[in-house]
Symmetry: C2
């Protein structure tokens, strides 16, 4: 038995089996609905609205009774008014008759805006691919060597390369034609001094590669010219796996709960990379076959899922990965459609939850080359990674920050996309808010009406730091309900405190955008995790202060470093020594593409870095609680003491 | 515009585009029609008959006018009576309307009977695949090594294997599951001491491989147990490429004349190998994934075509192959459906027309281990290969014998399949013929009526040797028309002499089966080529006699060695030192599968063997002409002089 389902505003429609949930139907029909928890019914992000009645235009009679009944889990997220408005959670409601489903803007997926310029980095251009031009002796009846043997011997004579070089099997198939098309003059591309991967007639200098940072949320790709070291083009897309769950654990769960779940997620990301490779080469006037190598970074779970390696055991204690070493895989074996002979290099894993992306951060930042200064590097993502040390010793850990700092699990949270409030200032006296929305250069209230529809990570950090400085949030994190301002109020649904950041009339969604008490708690959990992680590493290393702090992450250089320190995201440090470097993991992928010695460094640092398991420390819980306060219940922050001194406190005048 | 075409007796039917030849239509519809020349219109083997009229059963109105007009080329092969009988060449006649085509038995493909037991050979069992059982330490929070690293270290400790073993990427994907299914106890299969290709839970001793001899006409496959060295099963099939041309040159031509010709032929043979692998493992109670390695031999052109390597330049002077070295290819890259991680090992090429099959013959026969005796090895196929020498020096050459010795290009020639006359005796006085047909143990005339429908290679050699001994053929090769026997007569078509081997009433085709003057000439050309080739090698090596002769070939041990020497197929030798060893090339493939040292030997002998180009010698033509006589115009054959003395000669009493 099948029923018709139509999604609005996209207009996508189709027939699905009875019993299919609306979320499953959206996936089948290619409609993107947010699903942070991967249909575990715990995030409440997939709210949709059922339009009822007979729609002549579509020939559909849509009724709420065509869905399975309201479940307890939905009442956690839907107020009685929402229910009366025919709202449902897409992951719960099952389709048992024709329905017309409206996906509100907050529930829709949106194209990610990604940092496309990071820190300027100087590096040696020394790719794994090298080109060699040779002129061969033509075959004769007396000299009936094979074409490959003729090529090998010429390369050996002219360039002292091995006379037993391997050749990619697909390339070998065309070798006789290519050699003769070049009239015995060819340019040979050799990978890693051991395999012939391209032979072109005559002289050619084309040499391109692709570096890809597969983030949990965003995929960033860099098309590089390996002859010049130039980045020809940068592009990005939302990770297509997002529709299977927004964080790594929900994706691992999806893989475990669905027989073809791993396969589906694997293909989704490979398709995504193929889309990027296709559109970038096209824009650059190239073809995908021009890409001769691809480097990849990702966290450990994403590494396994992208490569279609069983991820189940990465997600459960003792968190042993399937492989830690770097991998060289034929692109064709992965399904990546670039040159058939191309290699895909996946950087190595460090430990269970510390993946190739952190290795990427390390080879980009090179803290292991630092002589004396102690560097603290924080890579902020759904999973946070922290590195501490210098050439003598490198410690690393990961912390479950949750997606709050990326704008998820926040009532009006959203990814850093157009419409997101990204910067916030609160007047200490009037509590009036000014803010800036992604997609516009002007601030509110300079701009009377904005496109605001939510708040992204940097906006949340700013908002909470500003609310704390203005006394709206107490050091404990509690919202001070005694303040005389209409912006501080009790929420409609659950009567818990909230602060109005933007009034309905200023926004594009016609609703007040607020920071709730729950949002503050989520940020407290995230920042406490990072802070405690950093402190454990400092103690393990035997230092009581760090000389510099580096904030990395796809959105890392939008972060206001003062706001970050004010909320206590990391231990005290000279503010001038706090730098945001953008997507250092992506830079690491690019460096590994452009300089093969970086792959050796990656292997070395992956082995050198000592993983510190913090969650099993006996005092973890008490430290964590202490770190929840703003900026911290006990620890002091001498470098921002002047700011903290100016904070309005209840009881202070 | 499309027309309906129906083939009888198979009943296959379908619609084809106007202008399609009957032969092309037969390929599209999966009907096998003989085509020795690959539709070059020169062999006349693809005769079909058009049935005319309205056939109610099929709803088809078949007319000869529905085909393109008779061409000059067809008149070469069709008598006026044949034309009146609506016979056409399938490669010429184009379909321009509905037709019902009858494929006469002589024109049909037939399942090949292949030698399934060769010489007994003793070898060391030492395959490239080895199994290792290990028990791993379980992962803990303190020991969070990756699964692969854990496995590598255990193998290194227990078996002193490299601690950086590669692993097949497809296997890696399932490694975490397999290891845990075995509760950290696994059996690991390692290929060539360098790549992990299989991991099984617990203890396993299964280890299988497949050796395949891809002959121009026949594909023979051997399923071997690599733990015991036993041949579990032997199977064979006609090479599915036969429908694109029966000899290598017509296939190379097909590849050159058709844009997707190479691809089609490549896929045809790969499909064939897959069919063999599937049905053999099924019969043996295994699955295809149990096959972990495949070894392949073939001639150079078949090597290129099977591997989808551009074959054009192998077929034209200076005959340089694309590659001579042996190749290790992932089965999945070739499209061979065995274990995904399996390796395919293709033996090396020696020279342009001396391919891996001859290398297979050499590593099976090991003439390079012979101390003093000089061995002559003749591998008879559509292309003949000759090797001569001992441990000091090995010479080799190839000769274009043509397919006559395999039963093609012979008026009633056919492959060694049921219905083929394979042994012949002619009474010297009465000229009565007795013969044996494949598929029956009894001889004619003991058996009054036979299933005879043609003559295969060994039958032709026997027939011509017997006709020569009975004086029916003169030493020049001319059929003696002065003999008083109804069996010696002028042919109906071209009035040229022929000898009736079997009368119509004895056969299954209702026609006299004859040896024509043209057939005798074809055999003379073939045997002269082999003889001259052997003599050149002897001169080049500086010997005037050989100590032994080895006859190899898929049909090599059916050959009557006395008949072969009587017609002068090779220089004089003690008849007791002439041996037929069957499919030595296939044995070589099997040995390379079972003993990896044989691959080293193969590489060495491919380099050691000196290729002698005979066709460019200035006296080639005169030698060739002299070798056309029976047994030879000049050279003497002391070891069979007693037989030659008994030959009836015109003018002798």
């Amino acid at each position: 038995m099948e029923h018709q389902v139509i999604f609005q505003p996209s207009g996508r429609r189709g027939r699905v089996k009875a019993g299919t949930t609306i979320l499953e139907a959206s996936r089948e029909l290619g409609v993107e609905i947010e699903s942070v928890c991967g249909a575990a019914k715990v995030c409440g992000k997939c709210v949709v609205k059922i339009e009822t009645g007979y729609f002549e235009k579509f020939g559909i009679d849509s009724k709420t009774e065509h869905l399975s009944g309201l479940q307890e889990e939905e009442k956690e997220f839907l107020s009685p008014a929402d229910v009366a408005d025919n709202q449902r959670l897409a992951c719960v409601a099952e389709i048992n008759g024709d329905v017309l489903v409206f996906v509100p803007e907050e529930s829709r997926g949106a194209k990610q805006v990604v940092l496309e310029t990071g820190k300027e980095r100087v590096f040696d251009l020394n790719p794994a691919l090298q080109k060699y031009y040779v002129e061969l002796e033509a075959a004769t009846l007396e000299d009936h060597r094979g074409d490959l043997e003729r090529l090998r011997e010429a390369l050996h004579q002219k360039y002292d390369l091995s006379d037993a070089l391997a050749i990619d099997f697909y390339l070998l198939r065309d070798l006789p034609k290519i050699i003769r098309a070049g009239e015995w003059k060819v340019t040979v591309t050799i990978w890693d001094d051991r395999e012939i991967v391209q032979v072109e007639p005559g002289l050619s200098e084309n040499l391109y590669g692709l570096a890809v940072d597969v983030g949990t949320t965003t995929v960033a790709a860099y098309l590089c010219n390996l002859k010049t070291g130039a980045t020809v083009m940068v592009d990005s897309m939302m990770n297509p796996q997002v529709r299977f769950g927004e964080d790594v654990l929900s994706r691992i769960t999806y893989a475990m709960m669905n027989e073809d779940g791993l396969d589906k997620m694997h293909h989704a990301i490979i398709d995504g990379i193929n889309t990027l490779a296709q559109r970038m080469t096209e824009k650059a006037g190239l073809v995908t076959a021009d890409i001769l190598e691809v480097t990849l970074v990702f966290n450990t779970a994403m590494h396994h899922i992208a490569l279609n390696i069983e991820p189940k055991f990465v997600g459960r204690s003792p968190f042993a990965p399937g492989i830690k070493s770097s991998l060289d895989i034929k692109a064709r074996d992965l399904g990546i459609r670039v040159n058939k002979a191309a290699n895909v290099h996946a950087l190595p894993v460090e430990a269970g939850f510390v993946g190739p992306d952190n290795v990427g951060v390390l080879i980009a930042e090179e803290p292991y080359k630092q002589r004396e200064e102690i560097r603290l590097i924080i890579d902020i993502g759904t999973n946070g990674e922290i590195d501490l040390g210098n050439q003598d010793r490198m410690l690393c850990t990961s912390c479950a920050t949750g997606p709050a700092l990326e704008g998820a699990q926040i009532k009006f949270g959203m990814r850093a996309a157009p419409g997101a409030i990204e910067k916030v200032r609160v007047d200490h006296e009037t509590l009036k808010v000014s803010y800036k929305v992604i997609g516009s250069e002007q601030w509110f209230p300079e701009l009377k009406k904005t496109e605001a529809r939510g708040i992204c990570g940097s906006g949340i950090i700013d908002a909470i730091a500003e609310m704390f400085k203005a006394g709206i949030i107490e050091p404990s994190g509690r919202i001070n309900m005694k303040l005389d301002s209409p912006r501080v109020r009790k929420g409609e649904d659950n009567k818990r405190p909230e602060f109005v950041l933007a009034w309905a009339g200023e926004t594009s969604i016609g609703k007040d955008i607020t920071i709730t008490q729950g949002d503050v708690r989520a940020v407290q959990l995230a920042k406490a995790a990072l802070y405690v992680g950093a402190k454990y590493l400092m103690e393990k290393l035997g230092v009581d202060k760090v000389d510099s702090v580096t904030l990395a992450g796809a959105f890392g250089n939008y972060i206001d470093r003062e706001s970050a320190m004010v909320i206590g995201m990391f231990p005290d440090c000279d503010l001038t020594r706090v730098v945001a470097v953008g997507n250092a993991a992506g830079d690491g992928a690019k460096l590994a593409l452009l300089n093969k010695n970086k792959r050796v460094e990656a292997r070395q640092v992956a082995q050198m870095a000592e993983f510190v398991e913090t969650a099993i420390e006996p005092d973890f819980q008490s430290r964590f609680v202490a770190a929840m306060g703003f900026p911290h219940s006990k620890d002091r922050f001498p470098h921002i003491q002047h700011i903290l001194d100016g904070v309005k406190r209840p009881g202070k005048k």
